[in-house]
Amino acid sequence: MSVLDEVRESESLGRDFLVWLWFRSETMEGPFRLQDGEEAELWFEGKVTLQSEGDRGGETIVCTGENGRIREARFALGEGKKLTRARMHLRAGDNEWAFELDSTWMNVHALKTPGVFREAGDDPDALFYERVFLVEKLLFLMDQIFAQYVEARLSPVWEAAELPRLMNWVRDGIN
């Protein structure tokens, strides 16, 4: 199977991961616990994009800004719209990243890394290394969170507890 076919076949994986991230970010009691005792806090903020497929082609809903609009997006989720992209923040230690994640490829869009402090005469290579370190660090953290999602999906706890909680959360968005 070609990569594109695999991407199409498995696109629900990225979409459901985004929904789970949103659900976890709104309901979890603590940060994600990652390797080496590291912790990361994640929250949705700014923009959520959903899509539906109908007889007349796809419809895209973009909710931006305030909580009310984001609540509308949760409502759309329960109506069967698919979450395709979301803007989120991730904080680990003193560092905070803001970015959009798409569901199809899990590409990163409009990433703002923590500030790279620059002074006149700074070695450009030092700036390069610092910036790339911050980008790779974000990916390292997000890959760990995604690995937790994969683990949760394959665990018996998913059907027994996690999925019902997620459904309740979506239902709360509708009511």
């Binding site: 498995s10 459901d16 991961f17 590409n107 910036r131 683990e151 979506v170």
Partner: protein, 209 residues
């Protein structure tokens, strides 16, 4: 786009295989071979692609080889395009055809003649056109085999992947959720194929309860 500065948008690839042991000797030749050339250097071409310095899009000579930033190779992929507005081409062609007809006293010009006129007009207009430049950063971590590429458009990414393969003779495979799930499972000491067992979640029934 801005992997090393500003707001960053990017996709990820995993490179299949490893660079040759003597890559420090061989890659500079390959990078120079696929270095960017301006459209002024390529008369008649409407598009030019190639490697440039990640910190200076006007440097494609790489005299200091500072794309080697251990353990990374960092370059930008520059794409210049000259576009001739279709209607402008049509208008200039009509004028040129009219001129030829009057000069030769002809009422009709055969297709090969019209094609020749069109090509002459296209080349003339191309010289006047100013190219649009796109610059997309590429950072390849040689330790992990992961390439970050500063764009997400499918067509551009496909073209980049082919350009990368031509330059380095290694295939970059795009990373996407299923591949990442397989990696995650392997990292947990499990079978990567288990990723196939993750079924889509249906939230629709939630609204119907």
């Amino acid at each position: 786009m801005g992997l090393v500065r500003g707001s960053a948008t990017f996709c990820r690839y995993e490179v299949e295989g490893s660079p040759p042991e003597d890559y420090v000797k061989t890659f500079p030749n390959e990078i120079l071979r696929y270095a960017f050339h301006t459209l002024d250097e390529l008369p008649g071409e409407e598009r030019s692609t190639g490697w440039v310095n990640i910190l200076d899009m006007f440097d494609s000579e790489f005299r200091t080889m500072d794309y080697f930033k251990d353990p990374f190779i960092a370059l930008s992929w520059r794409v210049d395009v000259k576009r001739i507005p279709r209607k402008a081409l049509l208008q200039y062609c009509r004028e040129a055809e009219k001129e030829v007809k009057e000069r030769e006293g002809a009422e009709y010009l055969a297709k090969p003649v019209r094609d020749e006129i069109r090509e002459g007009v296209r080349l003339r207009l191309l010289k006047r056109a100013i190219p649009q430049s796109g610059v997309y950063d590429m950072v390849w971590n040689l330790q992990t085999g992961i390439v970050l590429f500063g764009a997400t458009g499918a067509k551009l990414c496909d073209e980049f992947a082919e350009f990368f393969r031509n330059t380095f003779h290694l295939q970059p495979i795009p990373l996407y959720p299923y591949a990442l799930a397989q990696q995650a499972l392997l990292g947990q000491g499990k079978d990567g194929a288990l990723a196939e067992e993750i079924r889509p979640v249906s939230l629709v029934e939630v609204s119907q309860t």
